[in-house]
């Protein structure tokens, strides 16, 4: 890193130079990515196999019916409202914490990440408990935004902090007003961050179940899970799964189109000067409302609700032994799962950042299709496959980890690929030119620089595992009780008070993960 490089222009937009980038890939890497993709094909194959058992007429009558139309419209409407709302809120939030003189910026910055520590179904549970009449589209949008906006806030903050203000100065000296500078210079450079975060949120919303059942908003996934809980190998559920694939394809095309093919990287010795802060003047109390209201709703409300239940229950409701055992088991699965899923995500994330092409985009999209499926389909597919072809693995830790991989690979891929994409290829090439073997160069330069992204991916996966329910229930070794399964069992019996300690433990376990994400966003590099 300390080798002097010739000074280059501070920011360059390179059009896709394909032949150049292909060098980032190797046969072993492609093979590894293919193996992981093969695993991810299992649930997709299961859905299609069940489907092939029914006649075309049955299939057509099940797809082209008003109910499916209702559900598709409901799902798209939710996406169209919630994802842009998350982006706008995050842009405002990030601009306030990074580019203005708002008081207590460090606090708001941390609180901007904090909602991730509250699992979506705990969030929805708290809202439902406090406002039982919260129903339909708008509440669904509100709770989705509160639960998921940090997923786009984080990459925006990261990117904002890495921008070199020199480019903005150039625009300003050319006579553009601050607002124009933001839209013509800053925003385009945030594009990758916004797209990555937006896609991640969209995929989460597509597969989310608990949240929407609680606010009584039927999406395609809610309907699939209901069908799945009602019948065996129902063609109706699997057909809706295929419709879900179609929606995922739509999202991926949208993502590809909006990502464009420009690459922004700053190469040069030294550090960029910190950007000047916009002075809010006397309007600051008004601006303070943005982070204040957001965090009060996203963190304050669920925390107050859970603590209130906890308080009512007193020490009797603690279930000390069950709580300790569930916490340890959850931590075990979260750590092991995060490590394995991250490792599995590396080859394809690398290809995605360094050797994009048809094969790469095909492999990558398989993971998104699978990731968009509800947990119950994925879990049942794994039950079917392991019982038939790998019985010794059935209901072992390995089977659960495999399910986690299928469900959570997309978040790891997105986190890692965006960070890898920011590591200039030129650095690794320079290392190779200076005599390092390619593999060593990849490790000591690229992976090391991408380490914060890898850690962030691992943290996101660990958070997902901490709150995962269906696959854990069906595939874990018998006797396994995680915080999520215990919370679920108690809320199913309306034992709010008994469920509270488990919800609180989930939140507390997620705090260190939030810290990792926060540190990565703040630009602590992987030295």
């Amino acid at each position: 890193m300390n080798r002097p490089l010739p000074p280059l222009p501070t920011a360059i937009a390179l059009p896709g130079v394909k032949r150049h980038r292909r060098r980032g890939s190797s046969p072993a890497l492609v093979a590894a990515a293919l193996v992981v993709a093969g695993l991810a094909l299992i649930p997709v194959g299961f859905v299609l196999w069940v489907l092939s058992q029914s006649s075309w007429e049955t299939a057509a009558s099940l797809v082209f019916r008003p109910r499916v139309g209702e559900l598709v419209v409901a799902t798209l409407l939710l996406q169209a409202l919630a994802v842009p709302a998350c982006i706008v809120l995050s842009l405002a939030f990030a601009w306030l914490t990074e580019r203005t003189d708002l008081p207590l910026r460090w606090l708001w910055r941390a609180l901007g990440v904090a909602p991730l520590a509250v699992p979506a179904f705990v969030q929805a549970y708290a809202w439902d408990g406090t406002f039982p009449l919260l129903r339909g589209l708008w509440p669904a949008v509100l709770v989705s935004v509160l639960a998921y906006f940090p997923l786009v806030y984080l990459p925006i903050v990261t990117q904002l902090r890495r921008l070199d203000p020199a480019l903005e100065d150039v625009a300003a000296t050319l006579g553009e007003r601050p607002a124009q500078v933001f839209f013509t210079v800053v925003l385009p450079q945030l594009r990758l961050a916004i797209c990555g975060g937006g896609l991640l949120i969209a995929l989460h919303l597509l597969s989310e179940y608990g949240l929407y059942v609680l606010v009584r908003y039927d999406t395609l996934t809610v309907a699939i899970v209901n069908q799945f809980q009602a019948v065996y190998d129902g063609p109706a559920a699997n057909l809706m799964g295929v419709v879900l694939f179609a929606l995922t394809l739509l999202l991926l095309l949208l993502d590809k189109w909006s990502r464009g093919n420009r690459r922004y990287a700053r190469v040069g010795a030294g550090v960029a000067r910190p950007a000047p802060r916009f002075r809010l003047g006397r309007t600051w109390p008004f601006w303070l409302l943005v982070p204040l209201v957001t965090t009060a709703l996203a963190v304050g409300l669920p925390l107050v609700t859970v603590v209130r239940w906890f308080w009512i229950g007193g020490s009797e409701a603690w279930h000390g032994a069950a709580l300790t055992s569930a916490t340890l088991q959850t931590a075990f699965y979260a750590l092991l799962g995060a490590a394995s899923v991250t490792l599995a995500a590396l080859p394809i994330a690398w290809m995605s950042a360094r050797a994009p092409g048809r094969l790469q985009s095909f492999i990558e999209s398989i993971h998104y299709y699978t990731g968009a499926l509800p947990g119950s389909i994925v879990a049942l597919a794994l039950v079917a496959i392991t019982v038939r072809f790998a019985l010794p693995l059935y209901q072992t830790v390995a089977a659960v980890i495999a399910a986690y991989a299928l469900l959570f690979l997309p978040r790891a891929i997105i986190a890692i690929r965006s960070r890898l994409g920011q590591v200039p290829v030129e650095l690794q090439q320079a290392a190779i030119a200076l005599g390092k073997p390619p593999l060593t160069a990849a490790f000591i330069i690229t992976l090391r620089l991408a380490a914060p992204g890898i850690a962030a991916g691992a943290a996101l996966v660990a958070m997902g595992i901490t709150t995962e329910l269906t696959a854990t229930l069906m595939l874990s070794p018998i006797g396994t009780d995680t915080l999520a399964t215990e919370f679920w069992a108690r809320t199913a019996e309306f034992d709010h008070v008994g469920a509270a300690p488990f919800a609180l433990a989930m939140i507390i376990l997620s705090v260190p993960l939030c810290v990792i994400l926060h540190r990565q966003a703040m630009g602590v590099s992987g030295q």
Binding site: R65, R216, F228, A339, L380, L473, M474, F494
Partner: protein, 333 residues
């Protein structure tokens, strides 16, 4: 990352030492969709009585039945317990149950178990209509569950149609009145009813006045009354009686799997929960389901079953698949 993996390894070694796998050789594995607290109490008492340890896998009726069907002869389960009978019927039709010991069957009245004798009832719950007394007068109550499909009930009642509980009610309707009448009623349901996630939410919806009444199982109401009562304090219970489909009594089932590695212990467990001690645990617990075996009187808070005029339905004829097909056609699912 390295530190992370070391921590994982350390945890892995502790995990393997706790793994309960060793218990499986001596004990039994129960797949239970019944209330977790109740199942645990049965397991604890059974261990104390017989010395046989019980490990429990929790789940929900149909999803667990699906899982057992997928597992087939390799199923690790020895015993399967459900909340409603259609899931039992699914497993029974796949031929995966072993016949229940005759002594166990003898402890349960004939009307609460299937003719096949491959599984038995272990508890019962009744269908009720809870109504908000501020919104419906006693004289305006529906005479039959079928009246809820009439236009005057549009937007005024709630249910949890996605759940196995409600589907059991519809399967009784199908069995009693045939598919045409069921399809018509479901079309009325789609028009009129507000769909909730579960029975509890449906009950609370009536309590806060979002709907005037809800069609649910009895124990949600009695459970809330015995607790804080905050989700049912404005409600009264209406029983349809007269053999109406809305007076349906649903049977929770228990059965021993053919593939069980420890069939004797599994049969002993089923005998225990339907026996005097197991049924007393059910009666005294917080679940407010009806005890039905070994002549144990149900919980005193519940009106006796024989005063409720419930329709006679053979539980083994209740068909989940047809119900879901009809519900899908009606656009409810």
């Amino acid at each position: 990352m390295i530190r992370l993996r070391l921590a994982t390894l350390a945890l892995l070694s502790t995990m393997t030492s706790w793994a309960p796998a060793a218990a499986q050789d001596l004990g039994i594995t129960v797949y239970s969709a019944q209330h977790a607290g109740l199942t645990q109490k049965w397991a604890d008492a059974f261990l104390e009585d017989s010395g046989i340890p019980v490990t429990i896998r929790k789940g929900s009726d149909i999803l667990m039945a699906n899982q057992i069907l997928q597992e087939g002869e390799h199923s690790p389960a020895d015993v399967f317990l459900t909340e409603n009978s259609p899931a039992m019927t699914m497993v029974d039709r796949a031929g995966l149950f072993a016949p229940v010991n005759p002594e166990t069957l003898a402890a349960v009245p004939q009307e609460f178990r299937p003719a096949s004798g491959n599984w038995t009832g272990i508890a019962a719950r009744t269908t009720i209509f809870v109504y908000n007394t501020d919104m419906v007068g006693e004289k305006d109550l529906p005479k039959s569950m079928l009246d809820l499909a009439a236009p005057e009930w549009k937007g005024r009642w709630g249910a949890a149609p996605a759940g196995a509980d409600f589907q059991a009610i519809v399967s009784a309707l199908l069995q009693l009145r045939g598919s045409d009448e069921t399809a018509t009623w479901l079309a009325g349901l789609k028009q009129n009813a507000i769909a909730y996630r579960g029975n509890f939410e449906a009950m609370r919806g009536a309590n806060v006045g979002e709907v005037a009444g809800s069609l649910i199982y009895n124990y949600y109401y009695f459970g809330d009354q015995a607790g804080t009562g905050e989700s049912s304090d404005k409600l009264k219970v209406h029983y349809f009686r007269n053999g109406d489909p809305g007076a349906f009594v649903s049977i929770s089932g228990g059965g021993v799997l053919k593939s069980s590695h420890n069939p004797e212990a599994a049969q002993a467990f089923l005998a225990f929960i339907t026996g005097p001690e197991g049924q007393a645990i059910l009666r005294d617990g917080k679940t407010f389901e009806y005890a039905i075996g070994s002549g144990i009187k149900p919980n005193a808070a519940l009106p006796p079953l024989d005063t409720l005029g419930y329709p006679k339905v053979d539980p083994s004829l209740l068909n989940a698949q047809d119900v879901v097909r009809l519900m899908t056609e009606a656009g409810v699912m």
